[in-house]
């Protein structure tokens, strides 16, 4: 049986047309994929609206690609753990000013318009249980294509990005009342602009 199969393979490759037919087959396959992609793209078949959710297969592919991309690219980053309480507080001020509209907080809803985004930005209560600190640093700093997540490292210092990571690491331990208390403490001192001095 095995001998006959090997014989057939040998005959296929030794015949003058064998390898050519093989190549021709591969070329046809690639061509079909290319034409298919062109039809989807040029024909407007991909629904780019945010009013419709991803098709399940597309959503799964995109999300898996995102997760793997982060895992691979953050592999060699060394997280400066443990974080100090002052870093957590600095991260909180930044989070409450810049992140809460999309990601909400314990007991705090995200903005109504965030419900109109696709993919919808997730709440981050358990982000620290899903990701390592270095991976959070990578996501916050580098952003996520086609999700509206900005690359914060473009507009924040390296230390400020780590502060946000420090806050995300603390988030699973914060109740809604804790968050409300931190907010109440921050509000009177802030005067609408700069972050208040950090309690240590």
């Amino acid at each position: 049986m095995a001998g006959r199969a090997r014989e057939a393979i040998e005959r296929f490759f030794s015949s003058p047309l064998g390898p050519l037919a093989w190549l021709f087959g591969i070329a046809c396959g690639l061509g079909a994929v290319g034409v298919g992609a062109l039809v989807v793209i040029e024909g407007g078949l991909f629904n780019a609206t945010a009013s419709t959710p991803h098709i399940a297969a597309v959503g799964l592919a995109a999300h898996t690609a995102f997760v793997r991309s982060v895992e691979v690219r953050a592999r060699n980053i060394k997280a400066p753990t443990p974080f100090a309480a002052s870093q957590v507080m600095a991260g909180f001020h930044d989070y409450d000013a810049s992140c809460v509209a999309c990601h909400g907080a314990p007991g705090v809803s995200n903005a109504a318009w965030a419900h109109a985004m696709t993919p919808p930005p997730p709440y981050l209560e358990d982000a620290a249980r899903r990701w390592r600190p270095r991976e959070l640093y990578w996501i916050v700093g580098q952003g996520v294509k086609m999700t509206a997540m900005p690359a914060w490292a473009e507009v924040r210092s390296d230390g400020e990005v780590w502060n946000l990571v420090a806050f995300l690491e603390a988030l699973p331990y914060l109740s809604a009342s804790d968050y409300a208390r931190m907010r109440a403490k921050a509000k009177p001192a802030s005067g609408g602009q700069a972050a208040p001095p950090l309690p240590s």
């Binding site: 959503g59 007991g107 705090v108 809803s109 997730p122 709440y123 358990d126």
Partner: protein, 136 residues
């Protein structure tokens, strides 16, 4: 002893223990089952719209919900078998109307809990409730 009194061996009325047992069995049955159909007709939620809203409001970031993509959160309780849950948030009996109340105003029912009032309309809450109670 007069003949033919075998019927006396059968109880002529149900004893209190039997009544209690039957009643508890009936109540247990009523609890486990979903509300009767007429209630659902008036309820007005649409599970299909509910499925979309569950995605839009990021419910899956905190809750595990079978059939919703990336709904694998472990912040709150899993919602995959919500229809058979007895209590909502440990304080409200699990009825459709209570679920609508909870979905719309979790912060006024249990102040300081982690689930925010996300601004659901009555109809949106009914849609999500219908989705959580759907036949699986």
């Amino acid at each position: 002893m007069t003949p033919n009194q075998g019927w006396k061996r059968f109880p002529r009325r149900l004893g209190p223990a039997t009544v209690l047992a039957l009643a508890s069995a009936a109540m247990l049955g009523a609890c486990v089952r979903r509300p009767a159909e007429p209630t659902w007709a008036k309820f007005g939620g649409d599970p299909g719209r509910g499925a979309v809203l569950v995605g839009r409001f990021s419910c899956g970031a905190c809750h595990q919900i079978a059939g919703v993509q990336n709904a694998n959160g472990q912040v709150g309780p899993p919602l995959s078998t919500f229809a058979s849950r007895t209590m909502i948030a440990g304080v409200l009996p699990n009825t459709p109307e209570n679920l609508v109340r909870w979905l719309r105003h979790p912060q006024s029912i249990v102040p300081g809990n982690a689930m925010p009032d996300v601004g659901l309309s009555d109809l949106q809450a009914r849609d999500i409730a219908a989705y959580l109670y759907r036949d699986r």
